[in-house]
């Protein structure tokens, strides 16, 4: 009975999340339509709605705070330049994340010199303000995530924080679904190995 209740609860949560994501998709689509008509107010509204997710993805992909900021700016500038195309976009969320992914790769290629420098101690995770005790966990996990490849970090981010399916991740990062799932599994395996090595 308890198991049944748990399953029912999970189904309800999934349904609510799906509806939330759907309404978010509708809002973003409306904003895309308005931006395509030249509305700068819609641009600001979209920034407020999307910047956290885009910045997170860019940070996890590039590993640098400054680069992540540059990527977000680049994404919005690209979007404004190609505003005529925005009304044709079917899935604005996937489109924006895909543009962010490409912009992050472009920026990393342009700043290849930085790859030879030691990894910046960029924090990829933060604890919630209401629970400062998790700050240690956040710092520890941030350190582990820095040792994953950018592609693996990106997939883990999209899976855990964006709550995307592997198929969606494949569309966003332009790889087959199987490759996205494989990157995720390899990333987690690497992460667990590091944690086991460091555990007493």
């Amino acid at each position: 009975m308890k198991a049944l209740e748990s399953t029912y609860g999970e189904a309800l949560i999934a349904q609510r999340e799906s509806r939330q994501s759907e309404s978010e998709g509708v809002v973003w689509k409306r904003l895309f339509q308005e931006i395509s008509e030249g509305s700068s107010r819609a641009l600001a509204e979209l920034y407020d709605a999307a910047c956290h997710r885009l910045y997170g993805l860019a940070l996890w992909r590039t590993g640098h705070r400054e680069d992540a900021s540059d990527v977000v700016q680049d994404v919005f500038v690209r979007m404004a330049r190609r505003r005529k195309e925005l009304s044709q976009v079917r899935d604005p969320r996937a489109w924006l994340l895909s543009v962010t992914h490409r912009a992050a790769i472009d920026l990393t290629r342009r700043r290849r010199v930085r790859a030879t420098e030691p990894l910046e101690a960029a924090v990829s995770l933060v604890a919630p303000a209401i629970d400062p005790s998790r700050a240690l966990d956040a710092a520890r996990l941030s350190k582990y995530f820095r040792h994953l490849s950018p592609a693996q970090r990106e997939v883990v981010y999209l899976r855990h924080f964006g709550e995307h399916s592997f198929r969606e991740i494949g569309v966003i990062t332009r790889v087959p679904t199987f490759t996205a799932a494989s990157r995720y599994r390899r990333g987690l395996a690497h992460l667990k190995r590091q944690m086991m090595e460091e555990s007493p």
Partner: protein, 142 residues
């Protein structure tokens, strides 16, 4: 004891950091500028930018001057066959020559073949099946 961390549980409650507060203004400023540039049509952009306007004027002036001066400076010369035309003509002549030569070297005389009406024998009415069946009869050949 094997340590098997549950990543889902570890990540629970954690989140990616917030973007810097200064980012909003810079992003919206750059994107707003790009939005305005995209809004104006190319002719309006040409008109409003001094550099583009100057470049366009110089180009048009150069085209006009060239149009007027070039026929005066370069007198018309009699038409001569170009190198390409000569080459194509030579190629056509060569290919015709080669086909004539081939016909001369390998003359095909249909009336000298074994299945002609002059030949009599048991296989006279049989259609040729193998290359050996197409024998040239000495009488007809001479």
């Amino acid at each position: 004891m094997k340590y098997d961390p549950d990543l889902g549980a570890l990540l629970e409650g954690l989140d990616a950091p917030e973007p810097p507060t200064t980012l909003r203004a810079s992003v919206l400023s750059a994107a707003g500028q790009a939005l305005d540039e995209g809004a104006s049509d190319p002719w309006a952009r040409l008109w409003h930018r001094r550099g583009l306007r100057l470049a366009w004027s110089v180009t048009v002036a150069l085209l006009l001057v060239g149009h007027v001066l070039l026929p005066v400076l370069l007198p018309a010369s009699p038409a001569q066959p170009s190198e390409t035309e000569t080459w194509v003509g030579t190629g056509a002549a060569l290919s015709r020559l080669e086909s004539d030569d081939l016909l001369t070297i390998f003359p095909i005389r249909l009336n000298s073949l074994a299945f002609s009406d002059d030949v009599s024998g048991p296989d006279a009415n049989r259609a040729p099946e193998t290359p050996n069946d197409l024998q040239i009869s000495p009488e007809t050949h001479s």
